[in-house]
Symmetry: C2
Amino acid sequence: MGRWEPNARGRLEQAAMELYTERGFEQTTVAEIAKRAGLTERTFFRHFADKREVLFWGSRTLQQHFVDAVAGAPDSAAPIDAIAGAIEAGAALLQERRDYARQRHAIIAANAELRERELIKLSWLSAALADALRRRGVTDPAADLAAEAGIAVFRIAFERWISTSAQADFPQLVRESFEELKAVTAGK
Amino acid sequence: MGRWEPNARGRLEQAAMELYTERGFEQTTVAEIAKRAGLTERTFFRHFADKREVLFWGSRTLQQHFVDAVAGAPDSAAPIDAIAGAIEAGAALLQERRDYARQRHAIIAANAELRERELIKLSWLSAALADALRRRGVTDPAADLAAEAGIAVFRIAFERWISTSAQADFPQLVRESFEELKAVTAGK
């Protein structure tokens, strides 16, 4: 069964990210990732279903974070404000890992299959946000519209965050993008 | 080279849609589609790259329609109004083919690969709309936000259109959904 490796997941993730950046995602094998991490392939597969999963396991955490924040918004919060609060909370979580987020984004941007996977994960995030709103009693189409608007803001603020200076504040960019969305939909 | 078949594309499309509905997309082969249409496989491949293309060739037409409508909006139109006009024009185009749209939607909903492909096509539509706005001088993030909002409205109005009575007016549902989006983003 191998020795217990408390940091195996982190070491595998780091090794994978390095290799995806150096050689490209497609050209990297699980054997190479395990070797660079100083671990076995068997250990890799105890932590990740496949090499793609290394890049996407975090989206479940993010989704749970979003959903909990919507559920925890004050009863008086309008749907869009419950969503805005959740997106901001998610941004604060990612803010801690800007270098990782930039590196991951570059790896995904370079590969069509990964870009498709990211789109799918974003559509699941949107569906999860809409479900969380419906559990607050928000009806359709308001629930779907607020969730889709939130994911659009998240995506656009994310692009701004990783493409601007290292001091950029992601939650602040989310707030600004929500204000811009309000202005845009009001016909400004 | 085969005989000239003026309606070959239409016959192949109809045969494919029937088979996808009866047996499922995955279980249908190009040979079966050609046979039901009374044509050869060679003729099929002169019209479609593969069996998936039968369901997606129309999205290029729709995209061109959207982009032309944004380009042709009055100079004075706010970005969201240029987008709303384009989405409405696209809805008017689809309105003519409601039975086809419903059937296509059911085929896509039943298959994960097709659902992913549809998501990707929608993301391309959104990118094309944002480009069309930038060519009108709209800056970022307003261009991206207006385009994303438009695609969200399109998707949500489409679902309402095909799930309600046959008399539902798709352009009207688009207008209503834009009004609802305005209300939602304004915090109502």
